[in-house]
């Protein structure tokens, strides 16, 4: 195949303990570490491996977000993407808008494969890839834990509730990736220097002919109900007694 497009979202790093602002207007983002969505890093790693095996010729990283999302695209270039595209937009777009913008890019770039994360760890929506596949009228394989390129089709192993499901999908296709697909490489310093010279183009939603969907309006943000700390027991016997008393055993 020719071109793989990989979606890279800028999100709060997965190690940060996310907190709701006291006024309920959102979560605290000031001074918080931002990273590539962990699933997207795996998607990018997979694209690079496919290219390194000689099964694709170009990897294009795409992000929608504020100017700061360039940082994540630079990281993607340092990992090995050939070029990057930033679609300038406010943070907090919903999957309707993102998938429409991606569809507009797909028309321009004609990728053979679009790789996305199975979910973004901020909105936890798990929608964008499947929506794109529908708009594009192409196959989808979500939550992939193995991707085998077979010429003009893929054999994809997916993590489903029952275990592992294997599907065949014709290219072009949309695949969303799960955590066990691979382990992303570390970025080395020389790669960061080299990445500075790689092309990073910017466009915006208007240029793509996409308007921002305002159907989903967040009225308020609440912290989750807290579980209170329980009691410590000294040994297995005390534990079993306690559970029996509560009628749990």
């Amino acid at each position: 195949m020719q071109r793989i497009m990989v979606c890279v979202k800028r999100v709060i790093d997965y190690n940060v303990r996310v907190r709701v602002k006291p006024d309920g207007s959102g979560v605290v983002t000031e001074g918080v570490k931002m990273s590539i969505n962990p699933f997207d890093e795996i998607a990018l790693e997979e694209a690079l491996r496919i290219k390194e095996r000689g099964e694709a010729t170009e990897v294009v990283a795409v992000s929608l977000g504020p100017d700061d999302a360039q940082q994540q695209l630079r990281t993607a270039l340092a990992m090995g993407a050939d070029r990057a595209i930033l679609v300038k937009a406010d943070a907090g777009l919903d999957p309707v808008t993102v998938s429409e913008a991606l569809m507009a890019l797909v028309r321009k770039e004609s990728p053979d494969l679009v790789l996305l994360g199975k979910q973004a760890i901020d909105d936890d929506a798990a929608q964008t890839g499947q929506r794109l596949a529908a708009l594009w009228d192409r196959p989808q394989a979500s939550a992939a834990s193995k991707i085998e390129v077979q010429g003009d089709w893929l054999r994809v192993t997916r993590e489903v509730d029952a275990g592992l499901e294997v599907n065949e999908v014709d290219l072009p296709a949309v695949v969303t990736v799960d955590l066990r697909l691979n382990e992303p490489r570390y970025v080395k310093l020389p790669d960061i220097m080299k990445a500075k010279k790689k092309p990073l183009d910017a466009t915006d939603l208007q240029a793509l002919g996409v308007s921002v969907s305002e159907d989903l309006k967040v009225l308020k943000w609440d912290p989750p109900p807290q579980r209170s700390k329980g009691v410590m027991v000294k040994d297995a016997a005390e534990l079993v007694d306690a559970l029996k008393q509560k009628g749990l055993l």
Binding site: Y14, V20, V27, D94, P95, Q119, D124, A125, A126, T128, G129, Q130, R131, L132, A133, A134, D137, P139, Q140, A141, S142, A143, S145, R155, E159, V160, D161, A162, G163, L164, E165, N167, E168, V169, D170, A173, D178, R180, D215, L216, K217, L219, K220, W221, D222, P223, P224, R227, G230, V231, M232, V233, K234, D235, A236, A237, L239, L243, K246, L249
Partner: protein, 312 residues
């Protein structure tokens, strides 16, 4: 009036308990008229089970050999055709629903709310974001068609006792051939299902090997419990992926959850927030899991497990 369409999840001729929980969620939508759609190659039995759920007004049965396996690309155009005039289209927040519903939503040109955990009105819902570290209340414009996946751990199963009519219909949607089902590994462990079990015993990285992880199964069998695992245990190959509990695994709500040698990372805790009672066994008194455990026991699991097994 809200016309609610629920897409049934089923396998091996059995309606999934997750679908019954969707019905409970749908009953919370004011003035809901609930239709369940069963897409299958031979779904009469599943349709009959759906018809028995209280609150269901009608069951639509679409039998087609192409529907033998749950391929989203094949099912989505059919669901979209059935849902044309519905106000709400609901699916389960399981791998089945997560795969299918966004594709349906895009075909309908509708927004989707994932993991709905509470219905506040016909157009206002609550759902978790940031791995459950925040809950948002979201509103869609009144009258806007909406697709939802339902966070099944937030709802009880709908009671039986209904007697809805089943209507067989033929759809002439053109179905794609670009996606083909090959296989699914569904090892039947003979143990209770992780997502519906009332007791779950889970193991983490601490077990150190697949062989040692076996002792979890012994305890689970004594308790009649399902077995779960942390991502670390699955990644290390101690347990298969379908046992993973957490943000990217299964979200469960058992009566009793026993976490053994699991530290309690946010992503794991997301999966067990709705458990009624949490028990943690860990050698580190500062393990974060103890912050949320109802009963905590500090000690070496390899000493504690055999004792527990003897006592229960």
């Amino acid at each position: 009036m809200s016309q609610v369409l629920i897409v049934a999840e089923h396998s091996g001729g059995q309606l999934s308990p997750a679908t019954s929980k969707c019905v409970t969620c749908a009953r919370g939508i004011p003035d809901a008229v609930i239709t369940v759609a069963v897409l299958s190659d031979s779904g009469a039995g599943v349709a009959a089970q759906a018809a028995e759920l209280e609150g269901v007004s009608k069951v639509l049965l679409v039998d087609n050999p192409a529907n033998a396996q749950p391929l989203a690309a094949v099912l989505a155009p059919q669901v979209a055709a059935l849902a044309k005039d519905c106000s709400h289209v609901l699916g389960t927040s399981t791998t089945f629903g997560k795969d299918l519903m966004p594709r349906v939503a895009a075909l309908l040109g509708a927004p989707q709310l994932s993991d709905v955990m509470a219905v506040e009105s016909a157009n206002r819902f609550r759902r978790p974001v940031y791995a459950g570290n925040a809950i948002v209340t979201v509103e869609v414009p009144a009258g806007r068609q909406l697709v939802c996946t339902v966070r099944v751990a937030s709802y009880d199963a709908a009671p039986e006792g209904g007697d809805a009519p089943v209507e067989s219909i033929a759809l002439d949607s053109a179905l794609p051939r670009h996606t083909r089902f090959v296989s699914v590994s569904a090892p039947d462990s003979g143990r209770p299902d992780l997502q519906t079990a009332s007791r779950v015993v889970s193991g983490g990285r601490a077990f150190g090997s697949k062989e040692k992880f076996e002792s979890i199964y012994q305890l689970a069998d004594k308790l009649g419990a399902a077995v779960g695992a942390s991502r670390a245990a699955v990644d290390a190959g101690y347990a298969p992926n379908e046992l993973q509990v957490g943000q990217t695994g299964k979200i469960i709500a058992p009566e009793l959850y026993v976490a053994i040698g699991i530290s309690g990372a946010i992503q794991h805790m997301t999966g067990i927030k709705d458990a009624k009672t949490i028990v943690a066994i860990n050698k580190d008194p500062d393990a974060p899991i103890f912050e949320v455990a109802d009963y905590g026991l500090v000690g070496d699991l390899f000493a504690i497990l055999p004792e527990l097994e003897k006592l229960v």
